[in-house]
Symmetry: C2
Subunit: 335 residues, 2 copies
């Protein structure tokens, strides 16, 4: 029979109901061939730098000019920004009832490689390290702007995950508010800390390492596992073993180790699930609460292998058709 | 520039950023032809009653036997239930850390018509009234079972909204828990009541009727409008003008009026957006708090015209590319 599981860190309930499960190979859609139409118009390919806004920074060969080829990582403002670095944090009210504010924030694109058809799962280790060093640099830059409250780093891989451009890229958005969604997570972790005197994420990592059955992979300082209450099949969290509330504090050496474990997990998903669409999200503490004892930054990988439908929209309860322990076993066994 | 808007009832922030907006006609995917493969295997078509679990109830012609043709509305247990009417409400704990419980609940399918290719937007008024009378009957039946905490009635229209079967149907799930997602909404409304002495939804209805610019349509007792902080293009809420916290209390005459306004709104969306995929969700108070002064049942229609991507997953903030006042105007003008 189905089971309801509670995530101890987020207090989200999920339903684990395996009746409708697909076979893991059916989750992905395989690798579509690159059409010449697609390749000839990609604004992120080298040589087409004039099709994008001027770069903020690029990791490029010495002597090459900005906005020309020669880069291996390129960071640009999003051409269609969700938020822009203008306006203030004040709230306005209309009709004595509705609150609004200017769309203050920032929205950048991190182009992860000059090569159109690569993805983190297929890049070499060195390139993935550069991607994560770029994440670190841009996260820290935006997190230090006092006008912002929250910095969200994310990646949409594949059409159902919300991207139309195959060229590998991530995005980073700085927002001037802390949404209720994040406040809920902070509050749950804070209450846990008050009750137990420890970080719920630290305790989770300790439990998972001891229990072993939901572990996907492990390195000296990081662990990848399927959460007990995974909201969707093959949802994977990657967490540092040592407590740290903000991604802003990661040092370069650990960033490379993180790149190693992330690449490994994404390669397992890519190969064993046949290139599934997925979202990658960094959860880090709000930037003005960056050094707290109750929160713990982590990456969430959410394969988009089942639809979010009316029930999820209406209740916030997710239905997961794969038992997290079985998903972990499957990924551990994948080469 | 973009704008951030706060929903006064849910305390959800949304970003209104119109840079990437499509034209409304591009939101839908049109009407796909019915293949004979599809028609020959549909388990919800009359004559194939043996392909589904035995009916719970059906609205059928006098003298026709259960699980045979002759019905115009048929309600069956979901063949792949997310929750089942077994087990109790007690929580269990594993490894001194993880909480879980039996998948207690119920999961029904409401087949809305014997006709495979109809949808609420194209059915005649009488049939839509029967659909809503069935909603009322099944909602009330599940809401009165003391083992359940929350009853979610929903409809997934189209593949991106989470359905693979075109034959028109809705679902109803009873859950033995009140998820944080619902608690948040209750709490926000409760605080509003404590601060103002009135229901935030009642006040919203009053404001919208006075302002007029987000109204889609109106009848004696109901109003359809685009919320000030719509999370996605053409999100529409349908609400009773008079305070009522639970859908359980709706009377048959008002149910028919509700069917009239819902059919009208769905027909406008169907025609003017070219048959978009959508989710329809009923929000009603948790069943053990059914008669409260601070909550107000309503239907949400959420066209699936933009992807929920990494940013939304990570922050809970939605990006809406259509200004709600413009969406309302567009729908008001649609015939």
């Amino acid at each position: 029979m189905p089971e309801l599981r509670l995530n101890p860190a987020t207090k989200d309930w999920v339903i684990i109901a395996t009746e409708r499960a697909k076979r893991p190979e059916e989750f992905g859609s395989g690798i579509l061939p690159v059409t010449s139409e697609e390749k000839d118009h990609c604004p992120f390919c080298p040589g087409r730098e004039d099709l994008t806004p001027s770069e903020i920074i690029a990791y490029r060969t010495y002597g090459t000019a900005p906005n020309t080829p020669g880069w291996w990582i390129r960071i640009i403002p999003n051409a269609y920004p969700a938020l822009v670095p203008q306006g203030g944090q004040e709230r306005f009210m209309t009709d004595d009832f509705f609150t609004y504010m200017n769309g203050l924030g920032d929205h950048e694109v991190i182009i992860e490689s000059p090569e159109h058809s690569q993805t983190i799962a297929t890049m070499d280790q060195k390139q993935v390290e550069e991607v994560f060093l770029a994440y670190r640099e841009r996260y820290a830059a935006l997190a230090r702007d006092p006008r912002f409250e929250l910095v969200i780093l994310f990646k949409n891989h594949g059409a159902t995950a919300g991207t139309s451009l195959r060229h590998p890229h991530s995005q980073i958005i700085a927002a001037p508010i802390t949404p209720l969604h994040i406040r809920n997570r902070i509050e749950a972790a804070m209450h846990y800390f008050d009750d137990h005197g420890s970080c719920v994420y630290c305790d989770m990592v300790e439990k998972e390492i001891k229990l072993k059955d939901r572990i996907v992979s492990e390195s000296d300082n990081f662990v990848a596992f399927e959460p007990f209450a995974s909201r969707s099949p093959f949802e994977t969290w990657v967490m540092s073993k040592k407590h740290c509330s903000s991604f802003e504090f990661i040092v370069p050496e650990q960033t490379k180790e993180l790149a190693f474990i992330m690449r490994g997990v994404l390669a397992k998903l890519y190969r064993s699930l046949n290139n599934p669409d997925y979202n990658l999200v960094l959860r880090s503490s709000p930037v003005h609460e960056k050094n707290v004892e109750y929160f713990h930054w982590h990456f969430m990988i959410v394969p988009r292998v089942s639809a979010v439908a009316g029930f999820e929209l209406g209740s916030g309860i997710y239905i997961n058709t794969v038992i997290p322990e079985a998903a972990a076993q499957y990924l551990r066994d994948a080469t």
